[in-house]
Homo-oligomer: 227 residues x 2
DNA sequence: GGAACAAGATTGTGGAACAATCAATGCCAT
DNA sequence: ATGGCATTGATTGTTCCACAATCTTGTTCC
């Protein structure tokens, strides 16, 4: 058995994640972001990160590329990478893309669901339920990723597995860290899961659409209340 | 004025394309692929490419990352990058993702279309018309990219601009270089453009769906005739 | 023929050095 | 003062090198 070092989850996800030294930087930045220790707009200096994570500038650059693919940082030539900041318009643009992709994920999972997937899905839901009420933001983020990972696995679409993680969802969570989003998510996820277990692709797609609509509504509310 | 070296197009696309040295490698590989000088499954050796394009191994690695994002090469640790090869199942998986995204692109363009976009769109269509009949594959590929670029520009969705080029379409064209696909595409693109000019989002989305269905049909035919 | 071993090829990684570019600072002239 | 301008420092872009880690291939021995 290969020794899986450090904070990596148990399941190996065949996605476009960096490996080796770059992975340390990549995961470190993501954790900082989830923990609120980095704010959108913040700049990242290569040499600082290289020193902090004890890697070469090479690895830092590689990690930045992956983070840029995930929509976490903005990369522009001769400028320090910066944590991506979404204005309201771009937030909804991201949600439009997220809706299209999430519908496809839900539909694929419903079509591909088999009895062997029941345990996986309910485990993901359980983890969500535990993290939702009052837990830390990081725990809920992990559970949410696990849920989508389960759906992608059930659906079996490799291109979707490759592209779905590239949607700029991380930043939306980082920029709108409202607890209200969590409760809504949990209920929506359960609805999606029900439709998947019932192998009802249309219902799963509707549930996914409804979920994104709910997220839109909460964000609209959060931003319009603000004077 | 900055000297724009070599084969770069005139319009600067604010997408996730590599810059500088890595760009040479990136564009070179893509051209090789379009020209049929590289076949799916072929392995790429860092040092060879570094020597061929007169850049450092760093730049080659960066280019490989970008190509992997575009779904052109497969990257796995401690292995030489290889031109991605799609089995039939994965081909249709890519097309499922392409359908969802293309629908969104068409819908966004229809909603965002303004009179100022007319010239851009018709120019893209003209270029397609010239390249379609008997021209080279590379010219048609360029025209096709220009068409989608116009749509993305009209739609104005920045997240879509970022993610759409990541769909593994390049490989599909490299693996199924049938002239039949070209004719179908031209007609479909004209239909999509008509709906966009009419600002009919539903019709544009239907046209996009129909187009992907046509591509599916051709590929199914191409592969089932083959014993 | 097959398994264990050895040699070679290729990638993974860090580091140094320098060029290129950008950002901030301070200076000067008006 | 203040607007423009040169200088300076900080940061990224790029190549080259060295070596470790890993995979691949070929060979030998049983």
């Amino acid at each position: 058995m290969t020794t899986d070092p450090g904070s990596s989850p148990a399941l190996h996800w065949p996605g476009p994640e960096p490996a080796g030294a770059a992975r340390r930087v990549y995961l470190g930045i993501l954790q900082d972001l989830e923990g609120g220790r980095m704010v959108p707009g913040q700049r990242l200096i290569e040499t600082d990160l290289a020193a902090r994570f004890e890697v070469g500038r090479n690895a830092v650059r590689e990690a930045m590329q992956h983070l840029a693919v995930r929509g976490v940082v903005d990369l522009s030539p001769n400028r320090s990478p910066a944590i991506r900041r979404l204005d309201l318009a771009e937030t909804f643009e991201v949600l439009d893309v997220a809706e299209a992709m999430t519908r496809l994920v839900a539909r694929a999972a419903a079509k591909g669901f088999g009895d062997e997937h029941g345990a996986l899905l309910s485990a993901a839901l359980d983890e969500l339920g535990e993290a939702a009420p009052g837990g830390e933001a990081a725990a809920f983020s992990r559970a949410r990723r696990g849920f989508y990972r389960a759906l992608l696995l059930i659906g079996g679409n490799r291109e979707l597995q490759r592209l779905f993680p590239a949607i700029g969802i991380h930043i939306i969570h980082a920029q709108y860290p409202s607890p209200r989003l969590r409760g809504i998510r949990l209920a929506d996820y359960q609805a999606i899961a029900r439709a998947i277990v019932a192998r009802d692709a249309d219902a799963a797609e509707r549930a996914a659409t409804g979920h994104v609509d709910n997220v839109r509504a909460v964000i609209r509310e959060l931003t319009t209340v603000h004077p």
